[in-house]
Symmetry: C2
Subunit: 349 residues, 2 copies
């Protein structure tokens, strides 16, 4: 159940009182500890016994080593099956914390306070949790839902412009795959100077929830959420390997540009509409697109990453593409040479 | 879905053919590899690509270290979400393998071939999977069901008499908590010289399935399965700590003797009936009962283990006891001094 702002705080207070939890554990990183948890605790009058588990910020904390460490610390601090885990942070924290709670004593209750745009619209819905293994993202994990997701718009003020833009890419994706009107609204929004409005966050969550509820285990329809991600993931991985990492949303934005081009050839998207959408993406993500062109890309390796994507079978490369703005189609096989051509094109100035 | 003997083999062949799996992984220990997997593979004509994952026998393999190692090996061997994990072994293998499959890529399909009495009647039903953490048994895990459970009576011939007796304790428990007729049959069975019959295994599975289906998440009714386990677990832990480990079922048998005594005082069990049942247990587990009396027990520590049992709240010690042979009651709070008295009594010759 998702609650916003004042409703969220009220609901959380009631939940804590009625839940009769033996102990409350907060999972945070160094940054969200200071910027989000401290203000949040200030809003709560009285709490049962609490403990704060702090990990380093960044994707590196989504590792088996940190996970095992957290299992041990929770046991040492006396967590039992009536304890509650409260995740306060971005997608790293909600992914790691969801998996931690889902596996401790075969599952204890947990709630999420996502603190980034990306986590608010994406990571907190759909039940995906997990950790990375040897640089393969989310290779280990669970499908499991938080008891509650609490969205506080204020938390978005704590983000850097880069993080804000990165999360906005997922919101743009939601418009592109499912809602033309929403896309039109987003495409003229001054995201460079403003945080996304609560209404926009709500609409994105609505779209994602509808898709994932219709298809909890990713067997079919849910794949429309992969738009931009097959190329985006390959771009993100290779940029990281070259020591010039892109934020997830930046890579997805570039991936969407490529997949809009593929959509014209392989899904019948109108060329003019594709061009307009690409213009929006190029303008919002100007800086990331430019930084990406400076990288020396190993295209064979990128192709390999796209092929190994866990959504593929038998080494075919399958895409989610757009038939129209606001309408996606899944499982489109694109020949390797075409994928390579697009990857090369995206790397050009 | 559970299948037996010839039906099991037929069903497994069909499942492999129709499942269209990208790769089959077998999880075994050194012993079940030789004694069970090799003969099993001999029964199967053609297989897709397979890999064998072998771990050391014994509870030590149910560790975070082995788990992380297996995650990595599976990734290296190209396991994808269309792979199948086949667990062939005792409860250690089915617990570890179920958790491994349930968390790899957020869950891949798995089937169990339990090879011990204990695993056939207990570990393969009810969806409990997991690993130990710093000597706390099953602290980390998941509730998740195998796609199939295949029970081959033949596999029980590979067990030592000790392992056979250990598993039989759980079967006796099933009779005591839920079925007087079944208890009467078991109490005269020549288990010292014969493996349990397929019919008995079936009846035990039936009882356990009915209980766990009625209560998938252990909120209530399922607790009747804990009979003998609160004391048994404390006994098992302290015996292990003293370097004279008892098998799980041996400890549970001794625990049942103690909890039958508690049942007379705290659950209204007829004293005569309790004595008869205790006589059966003392006779079948004569050797284990004797070995246990030789141990120097630290009763305060045993009490601590019983108190920390994950089924307890607020440090009370709660028991599942018998109102009658074949009828259990849950959540009976027993005063600490009484628990201590019973623990001391069990340790006497």
């Amino acid at each position: 159940m998702i609650k916003f702002d004042r409703d969220a705080l009220e609901d959380f207070k009631t939940f804590l009182t009625e839940g009769n939890f033996s102990k409350i554990f907060f999972l945070v990183d160094e940054i969200t500890h200071e910027k989000c948890l401290i203000p949040l605790l200030g809003e709560l009058e009285s709490l049962p016994e609490t403990e704060v588990l702090e990990v380093n910020p960044g994707e590196e904390s989504k590792s088996p080593e940190v996970l095992v460490q957290l299992w041990k610390v929770m046991a040492e601090l006396g967590a039992d099956r009536h304890s509650l885990l409260v995740n306060v942070g971005g997608g790293m924290i909600t992914d790691l914390g969801g998996f931690l709670a889902g596996t401790y004593m075969r599952g204890i209750a947990f709630v999420n306070f996502p603190t980034t745009v990306l986590a608010q619209v994406d990571a907190s819905v759909g039940g995906k949790t997990g950790i990375n293994l040897d640089h393969v993202k989310n290779l280990i994990g669970l499908f499991i839902h938080a008891e509650k997701v609490y969205i506080l718009n204020n938390f978005l003020e704590t983000l850097s412009p880069g993080e804000r833009l990165s999360g906005f890419a997922e919101m743009l994706k939601h418009g592109l795959i499912a809602d033309t009107d929403y896309w039109n609204k987003l495409s003229v929004y001054d995201i460079k100077n403003k945080i996304p409005s609560q209404d926009m966050i709500r609409r994105s969550i609505e779209i994602k929830s509808q898709v994932t509820e219709a298809d909890f285990k990713e067997s079919g329809y849910r794949k429309i959420l992969n738009f931009g991600h097959t190329l985006g993931h390959a771009i993100e991985t290779t940029a990281l390997d070259e020591g010039k990492p892109l934020l997830h949303g930046e890579a997805v934005a570039i991936g969407m540009i490529g997949e809009l081009l593929l959509s014209v050839e392989f899904a019948g998207l109108d060329e003019q509409k594709a061009k307009q959408a690409i213009e929006v993406l190029r303008s919002v993500y100007k800086d990331a697109v430019f930084r990406y062109t400076l990288l020396e890309q190993d295209f064979t390796k990128q192709l390999e990453v796209a092929r190994q994507d866990k959504k593929n079978r038998n080494s075919e490369i399958r895409f989610t593409l757009l038939r129209n703005i606001g309408e996606a189609v899944t499982d489109i096989v694109v020949p390797e040479e075409k994928v390579l051509e697009i990857l090369k094109y995206l790397n050009k100035v």
